[in-house]
């Protein structure tokens, strides 16, 4: 069984600053593998350990995403593919999916393709299903559990307040929710092994994509922080019991109690 797990290199949300004028400053941010994609990598690593799956990882990023390869490889995959292009600076689900699908075709469509449900920065939830559509294979989304048997994967999908078990035969795209597993903290030996694993850089030009396929559909004009306005209500009048009562009744009005 072969698995390709895709991940995105994103700014660490802890380091993103929002100024008083709501401008978003990401210049000081360290970058990391999107947390939800770490779940996807972990799920692939578990398949490698339990079902002898052959796992590789794939990312589309700028030259800076090179830093992510060692981290990704220390989490289990045996090889990394990296589509290195400055276009990753300004991309959307449409372009990213075109690039990833083309890269997957180039290296050979595996049995399973894993994604996080959405990326930690834009959380568009587009790329996984789009890649499935481009490759004309099924997409299983909102997945909280996987089980592989013969040439098929059975997943539990968590949708609203119910779950759905869906089985798809290979090849298939699976997009996972964070509750599916707990990503490992790579051990010393895993980190050391990662630096010896192969990395293959793919040039965008080698993917044979047209200009239209590489032109974003979503044009981001600006990114702004948002402020949730507080009600700032003080309960000052009356006895403690009355104040509590007033608070509870207000919370009830908001549907919070």
């Amino acid at each position: 069984m072969k698995i390709i797990v895709c991940y995105k290199w994103v700014p660490d949300e802890q380091d993103i600053k929002i100024a008083a004028d709501l401008k978003v400053d990401m210049s000081m941010a360290k970058w990391k593998i999107s947390e939800y994609d770490k779940n996807a990598i972990e799920e692939a690593a578990l398949q490698a350990e339990n079902n002898a799956a052959e796992v590789t990882c794939l990312t589309f990023g700028t030259s800076k995403a090179k830093q992510s390869l060692k981290d990704a490889l220390s989490r289990g995959p045996e090889k990394a593919y990296w589509v290195n292009d400055a276009k990753a600076e300004n991309t959307d689900g449409f372009v990213t999916a075109n690039i990833l699908a083309a890269a997957i075709k180039k290296v050979g469509i595996p049995d399973l393709i894993f994604f996080g449900e959405g990326s930690e920065d834009s959380y568009g939830q587009q790329v996984g299903p789009r890649v499935a559509a481009l490759l004309d294979i099924p997409a299983l989304t909102f997945v909280t559990k996987t089980a592989v048997k013969d040439d098929a994967i059975t997943t539990t999908r968590s949708i609203g307040n119910c779950t759905e078990d869906v089985t798809a035969s290979f090849p298939a795209v699976v997009c996972m929710l964070p509750e599916i597993n707990k990503p490992r903290i790579p051990s010393l030996k895993q980190v050391l092994k990662a630096s010896k694993k192969p990395v293959e850089e793919i040039k965008l030009a080698d993917l044979g994509l047209s200009d239209a396929e590489l032109t974003v559909k979503n044009k981001v004009k600006s990114i702004q922080g948002f402020v949730m306005n507080r009600k700032n209500k003080l309960y000052q009048d009356g006895s403690s019991a009355e104040k509590v009562k007033a608070l509870v009744s207000d919370l009830a009005k908001e549907g919070l109690a």
Partner: protein
């Protein structure tokens, strides 16, 4: 054990000491592993931030030119604060080394500098493994032969503890004891962002130039002091206070620091800034007298803060440069391939002037710990200033009498003599 699990050297900690050591060893072809506990080098550091360039020159001449440095220090300042007043001694010197024109020192932000240094060591061929905690040392026949991290065991000819002020590895090796309260300070540091021009104006420095300021007084009467370093687009402000003295009173260190920051003479330097980081750390404060009696054993060396290398003269604090020098000393000892790298390491520390310098300043903590240094003397000098500059239309008191009165109101003659004697003996 297989070959891939054995290194020539394992260095624990990717701070300046560890990176300097790794850089040289890797450059000379050694198979080096650096294990860093933080998610990336620099993430665990709190140092206020000043690097004396000579230390980097020992690693590789010219290396500083491409280093992640902030501003070249051209203003050395000492500030003494009373409640509302402050006197600043400001010494301007571009401090270029005579023959080479290399600037004497730069301010640094450790998150950037350590990352840069680790990248440089990696370029030389060292392997850096971040986000991993070393739990224990591996011993065989009383020799340290490797480290244990989680379930993983990794072997090396020599293990170098560059794991900072609390050096767990030094303790595991039986060389270092837990700190006593009087040996360390509690350091608080805040990075306050300000536009580059505003910093240039407030500190009267040009582009790329900066100031380093040590501050005495207004630490809540607690033994210690404050500092301000100018970075490119931020200032590092903070204080180091004695934990023992802190415990004797009610105010929290955060509150004391807040009051310190709100002093009118300090506040004007940092107003309208945005806090980017706020952190606290232990700082070795006791100089040579708190350096472990032995810094090595078979298969093991201690460098940097782990070895307690820090000098506080009251006018300057040195730690990063000593860390780098000790990393260089360790690397050179290992490269000599002698039977006893530990003894060679100590010899190198002597030759690179680190030990003699630390011994020279061994008595200094005696002076900085004079209780009157943090309140009475700063108050006295500010009142003296007030007298000298005061004009209110009345007849001023006679100079000699007034000055004597000011002195008497703060310290007794006996205290003055005893402090003077203590200072004299310490030097």
């Amino acid at each position: 054990m297989s070959d891939e699990e054995k290194f020539d050297a394992i260095i624990i900690g990717a701070g300046p000491a560890g990176c300097a050591c790794a850089y040289i060893l890797a450059r000379e072809g050694k198979n080096v592993l650096v294990i860093e506990r933080g998610d990336c080098p620099g993430s665990k550091n709190v140092t206020g931030g000043r690097l004396y360039t000579y230390a980097l020159e020992l690693v590789e001449p010219g290396l500083y030119k491409d280093a992640a440095l902030e501003r070249q220090v051209v203003r050395e300042q000492i500030m003494m604060l009373s409640e509302k007043q402050g006197i600043t001694i400001d010494y301007y010197n571009e401090n270029l080394e005579e023959n080479t024109s290399i600037p004497q020192s730069f301010t640094v932000l450790r998150a950037k500098f350590d990352q840069w240094f680790a990248d440089k060591a990696e370029e030389q061929g060292a392997m850096i493994a971040s986000g991993i905690r070393v739990d224990d040392l591996l011993m065989e026949n009383d020799k340290i032969v490797g480290v244990k991290a989680g379930e993983d065991e990794m072997y090396a000819d020599i293990v170098i503890a560059a794991d900072g002020v609390n050096s767990l590895m030094g303790q595991k090796a039986g060389l270092k004891e837990e700190w006593n309260g009087h040996e360390v300070g509690v350091g608080i540091k805040e990075i306050i962002e300000l536009p580059q021009d505003v910093i240039n104006n407030r500190f009267a420095v040009g582009q790329g130039e900066g100031a380093a300021r040590m501050i005495l007084g207004q630490t809540g009467g607690i033994q210690g002091g404050g500092f301000i370093y100018t970075n490119k687009t931020s200032v590092s402000v903070g204080m180091v206070v004695s934990p023992a003295e802190l415990a004797k009173q009610d105010k929290s260190v955060a509150d004391i620091y807040q009051d310190f920051k709100m002093h009118p003479a300090i506040q004007k330097l940092i107003s309208d800034g945005t806090t980017a980081e706020y952190s606290a750390h232990l700082v070795p404060e006791n100089g040579w007298n708190s350096v472990p009696k032995k810094l090595y054993r078979d298969g093991f060396l201690m460098v940097g803060d782990a070895a307690g290398f820090c000098i506080n003269t009251g006018t300057i604090i040195r730690g990063i440069d000593l860390a780098i020098v000790s990393g260089v000393a360790a690397a050179k000892a290992i490269l000599k391939e002698s039977e006893q790298p530990g003894i060679q390491y100590m010899k190198n520390l002597e030759e690179l002037s680190l030990v003699p310098t630390m011994k020279l300043f061994a008595g200094w903590p005696q002076i900085t710990s004079i209780p009157r240094m943090v309140q009475k003397y700063p108050d006295m000098i500010n009142e003296t200033m007030d007298f000298m500059f005061k004009v209110d239309g009345k007849v001023p008191p006679k100079m000699t009498g007034a000055l004597k009165n000011i002195m008497k109101s703060h310290v007794s003659l006996f205290e003055l003599i005893s402090d003077g004697w203590r200072g004299f003996r310490a030097i």
